[in-house]
Amino acid sequence: MPALSFKFSESTTGFLKITPESRLILTLVASIFSLFFGQIVPLAILLLVTAVYISLEIRFRYIAIVYLFFAFIALTAVTFVWLLGFVFTVMKDQPLSMAVIPFMRLSISINTIIPLAFNSKLSELISTLNKLRLPGLIKLPLIITIRFIPTFINDLKQLRQAVRIRFRGVSGYGFWVLRPFLWSRVFFMPLVVRLIRSTDELALATELKGLSAETDFGAQRLIFGPTDKIVLALASIAVSVSFIIENLHAHG
């Protein structure tokens, strides 16, 4: 009996309605090639293609939340690199591309991992990882990472609400301008606590469920529908074009 013979009431979500296998392949391919590419143009192509993909799969609101947080991290990193430039002058002489490329790579991974996290059922995902014959050491951390994203977004939502309730008189868009230290305290202090607790809780949930690197739901043959084939073909074209441009730049 196939492991996934159980028909879920809603087997897959998102506009594209592709299988978790396709989503996982897109995530792995995009992440690996983004690490391989070192030029801005091929990375920009991958970024554009994955941006179209995420916008078809996920509600804009969630993309905005993730990107806002990502922008905050990026801004913090750039600020500290700029500050370090005063101490280590060699850092000031680095070209802009050195600062941009890591964030492009991260954005490409985010664009593919978020649809995977939001639109795939975890049991389907585990089954898919088995089908792809990925080793347990990659499988378990990947499951936890993917599961962490919705938890994190849920925490952000609840924190935002709590701040709105508590600081009714001073909240709103002016709060962080009027009281930046208080704002950072009331937002980031519980966020840090929640992040630590969430990781603990996910570890605990994994152990209590008996989920381990060895958990095997049975590996079946990969099955791709027409939409999956089209999406994967388009992804292959995008990667191939990026690959050619990357090589042209390298040899030109």
């Binding site: 009996m1 059922k121 975890l122 919705p150 609400q161 508590r166 009281r179 809780e201």
Partner: protein, 474 residues
């Protein structure tokens, strides 16, 4: 047979023993109630029995636990025999939606796909979760989350089932239903250990009672032993008598006198989450200043959603919230939600209350007043502690203290007494009434019938009101 011998546990970084020489034995198919005041060690005991110490629950563990003569080995194997529902069921979810959570739980235990599918269907039916089968676990009510965890655990057919505060967020009919289910599970030879403050619903389930106080066994016995009021009061326990669960809406007289005048009025409220089904449909009611109104209704009926609407955290599709007959822009009123972790920010308990009193304004701190607030909630001794280091019950009292401390026209408290012992229940109810007497309209959302008996001046029963939405204002 579960055997616990001289269990002693000291949390890491704590000089005090959380458990001190606790021992008992429990034959298969027997239910044991573990109760006692907040902080007496009930949750610690259950966590140890679940095999979480010392790997997850850090500290020094002495004594031993045996199940059918075997000691806990690796947690993932032990947990297939000993099912554990924690105080916060959300932290046990791994999958994104209800049916996937159940399916995943079973598949992780090597139950085949088809058998797992059948068990999922059965569990959804038994725990009345069919209507939320494809819903995200994050969008469930607290009661529904609890039912999902219970459904997952019971479908695994463990030898021992540990339940930490299972009644905390369940409505009275759901509690009755849970009691029936637990009796059936007990009949199948499963040992149950239930840590709870609410006692009345367990009278037909548990035959043995263990009372803990400051980590030690304060007494063991049966229901007859606890039927004495003085014994219970001395141990800081709640009532064992059942409160009436049938409360009808009693607010219409006030509403007729001044339909949209002084007070907080909800007028023809209709709401749904992002293109989802209508949760609240054409609902109207009135909250009077200086009065404690209790909002009752089944889990998942939209009580917390209503609280969020009242305080401006959600916008209604239709209808409006009026303060003294006028609309108020932006978030308004004070709402204390169930998850206290998100609502505590400051470096000390005193600062937390100070920031609430000053409403975030510079130079407006008043230590004296903040200490008075803390004393009223029995938290003055903890003024210098970090809020995140408090126990669950202490955090709960603190967020309610903070919510009631701020001057406002509306206070909404969502399940303020879930997980509170008898002593703290009395303290909390006194403070709720006192707060209402100082001016605001206070709305208490609760399933805790003991709290209802203590504080309710008006009642809105959402089960009835949703059937006849316009009744209260006409």
């Amino acid at each position: 047979m579960l055997t616990v011998e001289s269990l002693t546990f000291t949390h890491a970084l704590s000089p005090k023993k959380a458990l001190d020489g606790v021992g008992f034995s429990l034959p298969a198919g027997t239910a044991l109630l573990v109760t006692g005041p907040s902080g007496s060690g009930k949750s610690t005991l259950l966590s140890i029995l679940a095999g979480l110490a010392p790997r997850f629950l850090k500290g020094k563990l002495e004594g031993s636990v045996f199940l059918d003569g075997k000691a806990p080995g690796e947690l993932r194997h032990w947990s297939s025999d000993v099912g554990f529902m924690t105080q916060n069921p959300e932290c046990q979810f791994l999958a994104g939606n209800v049916e996937d959570e159940l399916y995943l739980t079973l598949r992780c235990r090597n139950i085949s796909g088809q058998a797992a599918a059948e068990l999922v269907d059965e569990a959804l039916k038994t725990f009345s979760l069919e209507s939320v089968r494809s819903q995200s676990v994050f969008n469930l009510s607290e009661g529904q989350k609890q039912r999902v965890v219970l459904a997952a655990l019971t479908s695994l057919k463990p030898k021992v089932l540990l339940l930490d505060e299972p009644s905390a967020n369940l409505d009275p009919p759901a509690l009755e239903q849970l009691a029936e289910i637990l009796k059936k599970i007990e009949g199948l030879g499963v040992s149950l250990i239930i840590a709870d403050h609410r006692l009345a619903w367990l009278t037909g389930v548990c035959r043995k009672i263990l009372v803990l106080d400051e980590g030690r066994v304060a007494g063991e016995g049966d229901w007859e032993w606890l039927s004495d009021d003085q014994t219970r009061a001395g141990l800081g326990l709640r009532s064992v008598g059942r409160c009436s669960s049938k409360r009808t809406s009693s607010n219409p007289s006030n509403s007729r006198q001044n339909s949209l005048g002084e007070g907080v009025a909800a007028k023809n409220l209709t709401f749904s989450y992002y293109k989802g089904p209508i949760i609240i449909n054409d609902l109207s009611f009135k909250l009077t200043y200086g009065t404690v109104t209790v909002l009752l209704g089944k889990s998942g009926l939209g009580k917390t959603t209503l609280a969020r609407l009242l305080c401006g955290l959600e916008k209604p599709l239709n209808g409006e919230i009026l303060f003294d007959g006028e609309k108020e822009p932006g978030p308004h009123g004070q709402v204390v939600l169930q998850n206290s972790d998100h609502q505590l920010y400051m470096p000390s308990v005193l600062e937390e209350v100070n920031v609430a009193l000053s409403q975030g304004r510079r130079g407006a701190r008043d230590d004296q007043k903040a200490l008075e607030v803390l004393s009223a909630f029995g938290l003055a001794d903890l003024a210098k502690r970090h809020p995140q280091s408090l126990s669950g019950g202490e955090k709960q009292r603190l967020v309610v203290a903070v919510g009631l401390a701020r001057p406002t026209r509306l206070v909404v408290l969502d399940e303020p007494t879930s997980g509170l012992d008898g002593r703290n229940l009395s303290l909390m109810s006194r403070q709720i009434i006192k707060s209402a007497q100082s001016g605001p309209a206070v709305l208490v959302i609760t399933h805790d019938l003991e709290l209802v008996e203590l504080v309710a001046q008006d009642v809105i029963n959402l089960d009835e009101v949703l059937q006849s939405p316009r009744e209260l204002l006409t």
